[in-house]
Symmetry: C2
Subunit: 116 residues, 2 copies
DNA sequence: ATTAAATGTCGTAAGTTTGCGACATAGATA
DNA sequence: TATCTATGTCGCAAACTTACGACATTTAAT
């Protein structure tokens, strides 16, 4: 039942939410940063870089793959994980659009009570 | 147990994940867009704009308030909801930094297999 | 003082996420 | 061929999320 009403929102809202959800865990943020820090694809032990069990990291990797933010190619014994930089750029634009729209009004300051 | 290991990540990663999580549902994206579209604070029936029950919308509003993306001031019988544009701007910068970092490497194209 | 309207609080059902250990599988190498 | 290493798959327990109805609270009007 949990996501029962998702279909009632626009594609744009759903897509933004979907990506946001993929980034909604520090481990997944860390994984992307780690892949970015190596300037290349990674074969292997990402789990060793994180304070989590191997299977848990694998699970996070699956989630990132599910939204296509990263790719994974099997290469013999190891797997090669890559960032999908093209999608990341696209998503960046989408978020920028969202934030610009949201900040355009400049309604309330940070401390002041609002004066409705 | 679910968020047991969160503390093991950096503040930056946690903050980004926290905001991403707040945006990780289309209803919450829609709420922010709705508040932005009115160029002012809103007293009242946000639920009427969304395909969800009043209490459910209220719950989403609470979550957005919890990360301080929106503010709510009680004003007599109604409540005045505002975007925290200052925070939104800050978060926008944070996301931009993250995405720039992530796309800097430009490792793999969208279709090509990676060449590890 | 009653009552109507607008919000907030609680509880609950169903589904999802997180984190992990145990087991399965597939190349590589002796 | 046995076996080591690197990954993938399953299943489980605990916690979290989503969605909603029923009830409480608060303010404004009559």
């Amino acid at each position: 039942m949990t996501y029962a009403k998702t279909a009632a929102f626009t594609q744009e809202q759903q897509q933004l939410a979907r990506v946001a959800k993929a980034l909604a865990h520090p481990a997944r943020v860390a994984i992307i940063q780690f892949l970015a820090s190596k300037q290349t694809c990674i074969s292997g032990d990402i789990a060793a870089e994180l304070p989590l069990a191997r299977t848990t990291v694998f699970q996070h990797l699956q989630e990132l793959k599910a939204v296509d933010l990263i790719r994974g190619e099997i290469d013999g014994l190891t797997v090669c994980y890559c960032l999908n930089t093209e999608l990341l750029q696209q998503v960046h634009q989408q978020f920028t659009g969202f934030f610009l729209e949201a900040t355009a009004g400049a309604v309330c300051g940070p401390e002041d009570a609002c004066s409705c």
